[in-house]
Amino acid sequence: MNGRAITTDVLLGLVPIALLVAVWQGTVSFGLAPATLLPPPGLVFMRMAQQLTSASFNRDILATLLRLFAGFSIAVVLGIAIGLAAAVSPAINAAVRPVVRVLAPLPKVALYPALLLLLGFGHESKITLVAADAMFPILLSTYYGASIVEQKLIWSAMAAGTPPRAILFKVILPAAAPSILTGCRIGLVISCIVVFLAEMITSTDGLGHALITAARTFQAVDMFVPLITISLLGLILNGLLQAARSYLLRGFPEV
């Protein structure tokens, strides 16, 4: 795509966002909504800048990030491990498949009360929930990526003398990498969503908790700040993951 096309795309894409902010500002300025319900954008962004320097808000962000990363990492490790195992071993496949079929469509957030009862109201319950939700897309995409690896690739490696165990790590894992990374991206988004929701339902800290607190005290401005923060966090993390993906997949044809 040439440079001209990219800049027009970017400009065109900024329009709805700019429009949204403009409508937002307009609604406030024209008094169509009381400031208590819909604070003007300027105020929100100012408050956000303020919050970003406040220690308590930063503690909230850290708590959320901690749970996010812990849950996501567990999901990645478990998802890839089980997905690969199911792809290469028919026995494991037979065991895993029906279990995944049953568990995957379950709204795992329904398990949250159970997790609260078992693991308490702190980090553990949320990390477990995040891991449980994020694991499935990663597992499924790993399984898919590993099972469609071209047989000829494996044969080439075997002919070159690679022992069977090493083939898993030297051929199948790299060949499945595009699919795995796509699954990780979905898992990351799910992690962001779930951690925020879990904190909203019950928590003593974190971004979700901040939003609920603000809601209970009718501080509309303070409600917008955590929302925008999680949205930005999601964008940044997604961008980082895409960068990692580009780096890891640099030899691959355009996927």
Binding site: G13, P16, I17, A33, V100, P113, I186, V189, L235
Partner: protein
């Protein structure tokens, strides 16, 4: 039918039984008041379903979910199709959608509740938003992937641009669109439950947390089973319908939320 196919067909059922057994054993082992056995929980299910109040709540939840889902699908599919075929439309909406994507729609509940009150409308709206995104995305991807030559063949036959969109792009993208709808269905259920957990006014999620607050642990787990069963049944029913609608398509995989 061979033994093998029989086992394959029953596998999910066996998995359910297996999981429940695991639960039973773990509960007995842990012997914790807040972790009732599977049997106790299952026994509590009919009590809930028999209770008129609870039943009304659950049905209300389902109704909200249905309306939100239907409205989302009606809006998102055309939007996704247009985005898929027109660079301009795609560039216009893409960044906006990318910004909204990581925001948990249920998290908008408090704000929307401030504006629209605690009634059905706010919950349905949140479900609508939650379902829209995957459906738009999959419709977009599906429309983009439609073979250009197929559209040219249609144009040579005299189809106008709008006719091509409806009579070629839509059916050609249908497998992908339905995958998006399946994801949307699961999200609808999740959003419904979480919005009720947050709004706490009515619905299945509300029953769940009320029971939690009141220490009725059997009810808590029974509700989990009920909600879980809703998820599984809806997904299975949808998958059956999907197979029938796109019988003509090459088997395709996407990353839905389960093996199909």
């Amino acid at each position: 039918m061979t033994l093998r196919t029989l086992i394959e067909r029953l596998a999910p059922l066996l998995a359910c039984v297996g999981l429940l057994t695991l639960w039973q054993v773990a509960a007995l082992g842990l012997n914790n008041d807040s972790f009732p056995t599977a049997l106790d929980s299952v026994r509590a299910v009919p009590a809930i379903l028999g209770d008129k109040e609870a039943l009304i709540n659950i049905l209300a939840s389902l109704r909200r979910m249905a309306i939100g889902f239907a409205a989302a699908v009606l809006v998102s599919i055309p939007l996704g199709l247009l985005m898929g075929r027109s660079r301009g439309v795609a560039s216009f909406f893409n960044p906006l959608l990318m910004v909204i994507y990581p925001v948990p729609k249920a998290a908008l509940m408090p704000i929307i509740m401030l504006w629209l009150g605690v009634g059905d409308l706010s919950k349905t709206l949140v479900i609508f938003l939650g379902v829209s995104l995957p459906v738009i995305y999959h419709s977009f991807e599906g429309a983009k992937a439609v073979e250009e030559k197929m559209l040219w063949s249609g144009a040579a036959m005299g189809l106008s641009a709008m006719q091509r969109l409806i009579r070629i792009v839509l059916p050609a993208a249908l497998p992908e669109i339905l995958t998006g709808c399946r994801t949307g269905l699961v999200l609808a259920l999740i959003t419904m439950v979480t919005s009720e957990m947050i709004a706490r006014q009515s619905g299945a999620g509300n029953i769940l947390f009320n029971a939690l607050d009141m220490g009725q642990y059997d009810t808590v787990y029974a509700m989990i089973i009920i909600i879980g069963a809703m998820g599984i049944c809806l997904d299975a029913a949808f998958e059956r319908m999907r197979e029938r609608l796109v019988r003509w398509s090459e088997p395709q995989f996407d990353i839905p939320l389960s093996f199909s």
